[in-house]
Amino acid sequence: MPFNTSQTGWRARIERRLTGAREFVDDTDPEALAVVTASMGALLTAFIGFLLASPWTAVPFGAFLLVTGYGWARHQALVARAISLAMTTVTLLTLGLIVVFIFAESIPAFRYETASVFGVSVPGAGMFTQARWDAVSDPVRYSLLPMIHGTVMVTTIATLVAAPLGVAAALFIAEIAPPRVRELVKPGIEILAGIPSIVYGFIGFTVINPWASGAFDLNGGSTYLFVGMVVGLMALPTVVSVAEDALTSVPDVMKDGSLALGATDWQSMTSITLPAAFSGVSAAVLLGVGRAIGETMAATVMLAGVPRISDPLVNVFYGYETLTSLIARGYGSANGVHESALFAAGVVLFVTVLCLSIGSQYIEARMRRRLGGAE
C-alpha cells in the first residue's frame, strides 16, 4: 500500500513536471526557445568534445559563444536563466568529475591490493590489512596504513591546538572583546588564514625542524608534534570564524535574558550561548579537522617522507608521512600502480573530508532548526 502511494506520487510529480514543461514551452517565444536550445546544445557538445579530448572542441564552444551572444541581445531573460542553470550544473559536475576521475585512476591500485577478508577477496583491502608500503623492492606493497597513521597523528595534534584556542578566540571576538579590540583581532585572525601553507612549510623546514632536532636531540628534525602544531595554527582561523558565526547567531535576547537575571557574562556564555551554539561550534571544529587532514605543503616539506609507522604508536617525536605529503612528494615520479596508489590515497582523503563536511552541515542545519524554533 505505501509502495503504491509512493508510486502514484512519483507519477503525479512527473506528470506535473511534464505539464509544467509543456506550459513553459507554449508560453515562450519560439525563437527564444530555439536560441536557448541551440546554445545549450552547443555547450553540451563542447563539453563532450572536451571529455573526449577532441581537437574539434573549439568549434561547438565557439558556436555556443556566438549563439549565446545573439540570444543575450535578443532574449536576455531566458538566456540568462539558461546560462545560470548551466553554471549550476558545472558546479555539480565538478564534484561528479572529481569523484569519477580520482576513483577511476585509483582502480588499478585497489585491484593490486586485493586481499581476502574472511575468505572473500576484497579489492583494496590489502591497503588496510597490512602495513608495508614499498614501491621499489620486493614484495611491492601499497599499504596506506602508515600514512593514515601519520594523518591521524597530525590531525589529532592540530585539533588539540586549534579546537580549544579557536573556540576561546571565537568567544573572545563574539562576546568579550570591546569593539575596538574586536575590529583589530578579527581581521588579524582572518589574515592568519591568508598565510600560504608553503610559507609555514618554509619556516618549518628551515627553522623549526633544525631547532627541534637540537632541542630534543632527535634523529632528524621531522616530528608529527611540530607538523601538527603548525597545521593546527593553519586550521585555527577556520575554527575561529565558523565558531564565531555560530556564537553571534545565538539571538541577543537569549543572552540578555540571562544577564537580566543577574548571571555573569561568563555564566551566560557557558550556560546559554555555548550550549545554544554547540552544534555550530562542533561544526567549526569538524571543519577545522577537515582542513588539518587536507593540509599538504607544510607536511610535505617538514616530514621525513618514509612510509612507516612510528614506534610506539603515539610517538610524536617521529614524523614520517601523511596521505597528503605522500601524494605531493610522489606524484610525478610515480607511475603505473604506484601512481594509482597515490590516487587511492586521494580517494581516502576525499571521502574522509567529504564525510566531515556533510557531518558538519548536518549538525549546523540542526542548530538552525533549533534556534529557529526559539525565535
Binding site: 577532441s54 614501491a135 621499489v136 625542524n209 610525478g332 615520479s333
Partner: protein, 352 residues
C-alpha cells in the same frame, strides 16, 4: 624526439618538431629530470639563453682580461647560442638574451625525466641512472627507442655530517654502508664513531642517484633499503646533512659543501678516497659508484636518428672543450676523456 610545446588542446596529436611552427621560429628545447644532471644542463641552458656576445669574455668569448676555457678551439665572433645553433643551420639573432631558439630545463629526478622523454613531453630526458633501470626496459628496447648522450661523469660519494667525520668516521667499508642502509647498523659506535644513532638519509625513489646507489652499492636496482628520510633532490640532502650532526647520505659530487664531508670507502680492500690526488679515488671509473650522466633523446618517426637539429645544436655545446670545462668540471663533475667526447659527437646528426 618529443614535441616542443606548441601543442593544441586536443593532445591526441604529437607534432614533431623541427622548425615547423610557422611564424614563431624553432620551438624551445625542453629538458627535464635528474637533479644530478641539472647543474650541468641548467648552466648550459642559462648560457645558451643569455646568448652572450663573443666580446663578453666572462661567459663566452674573450676580452682583454680573460677568455673562456677552450676558446682557442672556437674563435668565432658570433654570440654563443648563435654560434652553436649556426652549426646546425639556424639563423643567428645577433642579440643578447635572444637565442635562435630557447632552452628550458626542469628539475625533478631521473625517473621523471626518463618518463617525460618516453612520453614525448620533453625533448631531452636527463638521467643520472641508466634508462634501462629507471624505466625497467631491456637494452634492446633502449637502443631501439632512445639515443643516450653522455655528457659527463659523477663519482657519487657518500657523505657524513661534519661532527661524525670529526669524531673519527673518515672511512667505511662497503659492507658497513650496506649495513647502515639496510637497517642492520643503527649506531655510529658500531662503525667506530660516537655513541649516537645514525640518521640515514636517502634520495627519493625513482631518482637516478637512488637507483645507481641501489644498483652499485646494494647490488640490485630494486634492493630493499631502510632509511630515516627520503628527500627529493640532491640539494635537499646536502641541506639536511648540514642541519643534523649524525647523518649519512649519498649525493652527486657537485653537492659537496661546508658542514658535510665525503668519506673514503673500502671496497674489498681497495680504499677509494674523495681526494682526486689519492692513489684510488672516487673520480676513477673503477670506483663502483662512479656513473655516467645521461641526456636521452627519443627516436620516433620524425627523427629516426633520434636527435633533431635543435637538440643536436644544444647537446653539441656540452661536447666541446669549452662545454666540458664550463658545464662539467666547474660544477665539480668529472669530464669525459677526449675519445669519449668524439664518440658522443658521432651520435649527433651531421653539422650543416
Amino acid at each position: 624526439s618529443g614535441n616542443g610545446g606548441d601543442d593544441d588542446d586536443g593532445g591526441s596529436e604529437e607534432s614533431g618538431n623541427t622548425m615547423s611552427s610557422g611564424s614563431s621560429g624553432p620551438s624551445t628545447v625542453t629538458a627535464e629530470g635528474s637533479s644530478t644532471v641539472y647543474p650541468i644542463s641548467n648552466k648550459g641552458s642559462s648560457y645558451w639563453n643569455s646568448n652572450s656576445p663573443a666580446s663578453d669574455g666572462e661567459y663566452w668569448g674573450s676580452n682583454d682580461e680573460s677568455s673562456v676555457a677552450g676558446w682557442d678551439q672556437i674563435e668565432t665572433d658570433m654570440n654563443i647560442a648563435d654560434y652553436f645553433a649556426s652549426l646546425y643551420g639556424f639563423e643567428p639573432s645577433g642579440e643578447r638574451s635572444n637565442p635562435p631558439f630557447a632552452t628550458r630545463v626542469a628539475l625533478s629526478h631521473s625517473g621523471t625525466g626518463c618518463e617525460a622523454v618516453r612520453d614525448g613531453l620533453v625533448d631531452i630526458g636527463n638521467s643520472s641512472g641508466p634508462i634501462t633501470a629507471e624505466l625497467d626496459i631491456s637494452e634492446d628496447e633502449r637502443d631501439e627507442n632512445y639515443v643516450d648522450h653522455v655528457v659527463g661523469r659523477d663519482g657519487q660519494p657518500v657523505f657524513v655530517s661534519q661532527a661524525i667525520y670529526d669524531a673519527g668516521v673518515e672511512q667505511l667499508t662497503g659492507d658497513q654502508i650496506r649495513g647502515i642502509y639496510q637497517g642492520d647498523i643503527t649506531n655510529w659506535s658500531e662503525v667506530g664513531g660516537p655513541d649516537q644513532e645514525i640518521y640515514v638519509v636517502g634520495r627519493a625513489e625513482g631518482s637516478g642517484t637512488d637507483t645507481s646507489f641501489r644498483l652499485n652499492m646494494l647490488g640490485d636496482a630494486d634492493a630493499p633499503m631502510d632509511v630515516d628520510t627520503r628527500l627529493g633532490q640532491n640539494q635537499q640532502v646536502q641541506q639536511v646533512l648540514q642541519d643534523n650532526d649524525n647523518a649519512i647520505g649519498y649525493m652527486a659530487l657537485a653537492f659537496s659543501g661546508s658542514g658535510i664531508q665525503a668519506i673514503a670507502i673500502d671496497f674489498e680492500g681497495t680504499v677509494y678516497r674523495p681526494d682526486p690526488d689519492a692513489e684510488n679515488t672516487i673520480f676513477d671509473s673503477e670506483y663502483p659508484l662512479n656513473r655516467d650522466l645521461h641526456m636521452y633523446t627519443r627516436i620516433d618517426e620524425e627523427t629516426p636518428e633520434g636527435t633533431d637539429k635543435r637538440e643536436a645544436a644544444f647537446l653539441n655545446m656540452f661536447l666541446t672543450e669549452f662545454g666540458q670545462k664550463t658545464f662539467v668540471e666547474d660544477v665539480n663533475y668529472i669530464t669525459l676523456p677526449t675519445s669519449d667526447i668524439e664518440a658522443e659527437r658521432e651520435k649527433l646528426p651531421d653539422q650543416a
